[in-house]
């Protein structure tokens, strides 16, 4: 392997670890990035001549020296006494601590603009280029780059600490990190860069770093379940609802990973939103074995979810499951608990109402609801799906 390829490899594998370590020692991500890119530039010159035995340790030593060098010139940087001496022997890879968890907490810190949490995490932990992130978030490159720099300055200037939050602060802070990862996962409409794989990497990493946190494991399960259905979600440009998807198109390997995360989450005896969402997905996934969807189980899980984390989307999911398990009348009633004005602006609610009304033999109202749902929907595959439904309803009426 030539130095270039080797370097790309090292960079991908250890960028986040090196950056996390450097920033956690200086409290300054910008400085750490500068030092690290300086180290990579030096590597480009030196490695072709002589490849170091431990490239990661080599990079860390060079970057650390650079940090110390810059710190001398800039007295504002508060050096903590645990920065190793530059002359100290290069640490072995497993010798230096993994500070990525602290970095993740910093990226999703409540003092940092919530809209930049996800991009910040993608850039610092995964080393993703601002340009790629900008594409996924439908922002021009410069705008994204500016926002990232602003956030890093804030972290430095406000002295956001690189630390694992105190136990009483932990749940809200973990939830911030989970939201940031989930943000990478819920891809943007028309977004050119899909970040689902990156989100899965972050979720798996977090699960590795916090192996006893039920919600962390739950999120990893949710993402794995959803990723497993990637090839079945849209057929010929038309959206396919979960319960109608061809199970042969699901990814068995990811389903297994998802199941194992969910089982580990359940073993923690600490029920939360993501674990419940994962459990709902697990019930759907079971159709691969049983051939049917267990709607009764889904009703119970949706009910649980609406208690733990009430959302409009959750209520719609509950109403849909109830409609299947008990009857459309009951489903419709559950749907009516949503404020009518809110419902009228929420496409899934109107789409579900259309389904329940047509089951009740009220095709005219169903058609109106379906049309309302279409008018609120922007994603082409979903529009196509709803348009087919509404055409069927219209045909029923003539």
């Amino acid at each position: 392997m030539n130095a270039d390829a080797r370097m790309t490899d090292v960079m991908r594998a250890s960028y986040g670890r090196l950056l996390a370590l450097l920033s956690s020692r200086t409290g300054d991500i910008l400085l750490a990035e500068d030092a690290l890119s300086d180290a990579f530039a030096k590597a480009l010159i030196h490695w072709p001549k002589e490849m170091p035995g431990n490239p990661e340790a080599w990079l860390l030593t060079v970057a650390r020296n650079r940090v110390i060098d810059m710190a001398r010139r800039d007295a504002r940087i508060d050096f903590r006494n645990d920065v190793p001496e530059p002359g100290a022997p290069a640490p072995a890879v497993d010798d230096f601590p993994d500070e990525r968890l602290k970095l993740m907490f910093v990226c999703a810190h409540p003092a940092i603009d919530v809209r930049i949490h996800t991009p910040l995490m993608l850039q610092t932990v995964l080393g993703l280029e601002a340009e790629v992130i900008a594409q996924a978030f439908l922002l021009p490159h410069t705008t994204m780059a500016k926002r990232l720099v602003r956030a890093k300055r804030k972290i430095r200037d406000a002295g956001v600490a690189f630390q694992i939050p105190e136990p009483e602060e932990l749940p809200p802070q973990v939830s911030g990190v989970l939201e940031a990862i989930y943000g990478a996962f819920s891809r943007d409409w028309l977004g050119a860069g899909a970040l689902a794989e990156e989100a899965f990497y972050l979720a798996s990493l977090l699960a590795e770093l916090m192996p006893d946190n039920a919600e962390v494991l739950g999120l990893a399960a949710v993402i794995a379940y959803t990723l497993s259905r990637e090839d079945a979600r849209v057929q010929d440009g038309v959206f396919v609802p979960l319960e109608e998807q061809d199970t042969a198109k699901w990814d068995g390997r990811l389903l297994q990973i998802a199941r194992s995360y969910l089982e580990r989450a359940q073993a923690q005896n600490d029920l939360g939103r993501f674990q419940l969402e994962a459990a709902i997905q697990a019930v759907h996934a079971d159709r691969i074995w049983t051939g049917v969807t267990n709607w009764d189980a889904l009703v119970q899980l949706h009910l649980g979810l609406s208690r733990v984390a009430p959302t409009i989307g959750g209520t719609v999911g509950y109403a849909a499951a109830l409609g299947k398990a008990v009857g459309p009348e009951e489903g419709l009633e559950a749907l009516c608990s949503i404020d009518a004005e809110v419902r009228a602006g929420f496409a899934p609610a109107e789409a579900t109402r259309a389904y329940l009304l047509s089951e009740l033999g009220r095709p005219e109202e169903a058609l109106a609801a379906a049309r309302k749902a279409i008018s609120l929907t922007v994603e082409p595959p979903l529009r196509q799906y709803l348009q087919a439904k509404s055409a069927a309803l219209a045909a029923e009426l003539t």
């Binding site: 900008a134 978030f137 439908l138 922002l139 021009p140 490159h141 410069t142 705008t143 409409w189 028309l190 009228a344 602006g345 496409a347 049309r371 309302k372 008018s375 609120l376 929907t377 922007v378 082409p380 529009r383």
Partner: protein, 114 residues
């Protein structure tokens, strides 16, 4: 019902944006306009040059002024006119406009008789 989305932004946000980045932004707009067309709701649209290229005619045509009608921090950058059933639908689409991300999209219903 017909609605027009007026997109506003601060020109200073674009002052140092290199042409290639502006090209990206155009690409984002292109995709958005494409989606409006695909949904069959686009009536008309245009993307405007900055106010430095504006000329304002007033006072019964006697006054021709180099510049915009009103100096302001946020300026109009373009518009899209769409035909959708109601305000809910208009909001759903406006939310997805690229300008909703770092500027603002003002939704104005038509005042013309049908």
């Amino acid at each position: 019902m017909r609605y027009t989305f007026l997109t506003y932004s601060r020109p200073e946000d674009f002052a140092n944006v290199p042409p290639q980045e502006l090209g990206q932004l155009k690409g984002l707009f292109g995709a958005y306009i494409g989606a409006l067309k695909e949904a069959g709701i686009l009536v008309a649209t245009d993307w405007l040059q900055p106010v430095s290229a504006a000329t304002t005619v007033s006072d019964g045509g006697n006054r021709i002024q180099d510049g915009p009608f009103a100096e302001s921090k946020e300026t109009l950058g373009g518009y899209m006119t769409v035909e959708v059933p109601d305000l809910d639908a208009a909001i759903s689409w406006a939310k997805k406009c690229p300008m909703a991300k770092y500027g603002a999209v003002e939704i104005r219903p038509t005042a013309m008789e049908a």
